[in-house]
């Protein structure tokens, strides 16, 4: 089986898992869910690291570094702000 076909399998199955997981989440948590999911989409950071890490230089590296900056903002900011919100949902006893 080619790598592309494999990729499509992963994509389709992950979409199903995503649908099933998120369908049941109560509206109260929709905002933190969205910002948490958003942070996960920053996974593209590992792609950016691979691009820069090859050290090809020139435009490739420049674009890659910009991608690292963008993706890191997404990842770090996303997880932190989600955590900040979720703390507010904790019951204060």
């Amino acid at each position: 089986m080619g790598i592309w076909l494999m990729g499509i399998y992963v994509f389709v199955l992950a979409m199903f898992v995503g649908f099933e997981l998120i369908r049941k989440i109560p509206p109260t948590l929709h905002t933190p869910l969205m910002s948490g999911a958003n942070a996960i989409s920053g996974i593209t950071l590992i792609g950016a690291i691979l691009v820069v890490g090859e050290g090809s230089g020139g435009w490739v590296t420049a674009l890659g570094i910009a991608a690292v900056v963008f993706a890191t903002i997404n990842v770090v900011g996303g997880f932190l702000v989600t955590d900040r919100m979720l703390r507010m949902f904790r019951r204060k006893d």
Partner: protein
């Protein structure tokens, strides 16, 4: 790190992402779920840094430090009312990063053949990622008030958007067909930037929950496309999870307004002044004061509060909390009826009320709240309009069929609003003129503080 170990780290990471998302599903486990997803990300990043292909670290280190500083500052400083803007910005950065990764991969292969699958994946990555980026910038501008919240329309807008999209599809085919030309990559990025702007400017402010959800989905799909470009299963998987999450929320938001996605995207809702029912006999609304309304609340056994975006704008969450505490001290049962599109993103109102320490058990969703409404003595509408408009039951209305909080089934309704003006949908609200409705014309924050004080003196 040997390739086998790297793959194992990625599998562990994928496992933790899924488990983390699952735990985000209940308030008790959600903080742990978020930490789990963050740990998954850390594992994936560290494993990638140890990958054999990675030989140059300076650029990566600089980029990560810079991005982490900016991300931390943004996350710490944001006010809860501005959360939709921040999520839009983060979506934009995520989508932009995926587009940059796809572009860089292509440019690295300048003059070479990326192949059909490789060309399509990279082209789609650039297209979706860049549209996410520029669309999110416009969404941020609208939410922040930098750009008008009204739909921006010009002649042939849809034609131009369609032509741009067709040109981009042609670009994807060219990428798949022949050797990589960096100029083509640049042209596609430019066209996609423009397309993202054109797709979001015609959408009105009240429809932002749909836009933010959809851009969230796109940022995930762009990451998946980048995963196909690099042949990386973890990127494909995590991106698809996010893509699915965003699509579900988009669907929920559309359903909450009884509108199709196409109608939200192209309907320019709230742009035209639809003057329905303006020709009838002059109607009078009954005006009231906090002193007059307080005894009603104080002697009620059950009170509903229906918050809208106006409450967030007025920053009245803490005053609402005071009113709730004072009512509960008197033995009045209070609950909140939260319409899915009450805020500017899915679940926004719940976060704002949580910030004011209002327990989430008091927040009822639309169906539960409507079940309670006939047994409710007073419904207080604060800063909301379209979501309580009984016109939604009128098949001829512009908001026909939109699920509403049925406050007119409560014994008495108190509407706190600055004037009788229409909401985002631009249609008149007959609720304001009903016999059992009292209008408290005031700023939400002032009115809530006054009510909280007066209730103590009943």
């Amino acid at each position: 790190m040997p390739p086998m170990l790297l793959e194992l780290a990625y599998i562990l990471s994928a496992f933790l992402f899924i488990l983390g998302l699952k735990r985000l599903g209940s308030p008790a486990t959600a903080p742990a779920g978020n930490s789990m997803a963050a740990a998954a990300m850390l594992i994936a990043v560290v494993a990638t840094l140890l990958d054999r292909q990675v030989v140059s670290y300076a650029g990566i280190a600089g980029g990560i430090v810079g991005g982490a500083i900016v991300g931390t500052i943004l996350a710490r400083r944001v006010q809860m009312t501005a959360m939709p803007q921040l999520v839009a910005v983060f979506n934009g950065f995520g989508g932009g990063a995926s587009a940059l990764v796809a572009s860089a991969e292509l440019i690295r292969q300048t003059g070479m053949e990326p192949g059909i699958a490789g060309g399509i994946a990279a082209g789609v990555g650039i297209l979706v990622g860049t549209v996410t980026f520029s669309g999110s910038v416009i969404a941020w501008g609208k939410l922040q008030g930098v750009i008008t919240q009204r739909p921006v329309l010009f002649p042939l807008q849809r034609v131009v958007s369609f032509l741009l999209f067709a040109a981009l599809v042609a670009g994807v085919i060219l990428l798949a067909a022949g050797p990589v030309d960096p100029l083509l990559v640049l042209a596609m990025a430019g066209a996609a930037l423009l397309l993202g702007i054109l797709l979001v400017v015609p959408i009105g402010g009240a429809d932002m929950p749909v836009v933010v959800s959809l851009l969230n989905s796109y940022s995930g799909l762009a990451a998946s496309a980048a995963g196909f470009v690099l042949g990386n299963a973890l990127l494909i998987l995590a991106g698809a999870l996010v893509g699915a999450a965003g699509l579900i929320l988009t669907q929920l938001m559309c359903r909450a307004m009884n509108r199709s996605l196409a109608n939200v995207a192209f309907g320019a809702f709230g742009g035209v002044d639809t003057t329905v029912g303006q020709d009838g006999p002059a109607r009078t609304a009954r005006s009231t004061t906090a002193e007059e309304a307080a005894p009603l609340l104080g002697h009620a056994s059950r009170v509903a509060i229906i918050p809208g975006y106006g409450l967030a704008v007025a920053q009245a969450q803490h005053e609402v909390k005071k009113l709730v505490s004072n009512l509960e001290e008197r033995g009045v049962e209070v609950y909140f009826a939260i319409h899915p599109v009450a805020g500017r993103m899915p679940g926004h109102m719940n976060v704002l009320l949580a910030e004011a320490d209002i327990p989430y058990e008091l927040l009822l969703d639309l169906d539960d709240a409507n079940d309670q409404m006939p047994r409710t003595d007073v419904a207080i509408v604060v800063g909301a309009n379209d979501v309580v408009n009984p016109e939604a039951r009128n098949p001829a209305s512009a908001i026909a069929g939109m699920p509403i909080v049925e406050v007119d089934r409560a014994t008495t309704v108190v509407v706190i609003k600055r004037s009788l003006s229409t909401g985002f949908a631009g249609i008149d609200n007959p609720l304001f003129y009903k016999n059992r409705t009292m209008m408290l014309f005031a700023d939400a924050k002032v009115a809530m503080a006054d009510l909280a004080r007066e209730v103590r003196e009943v």
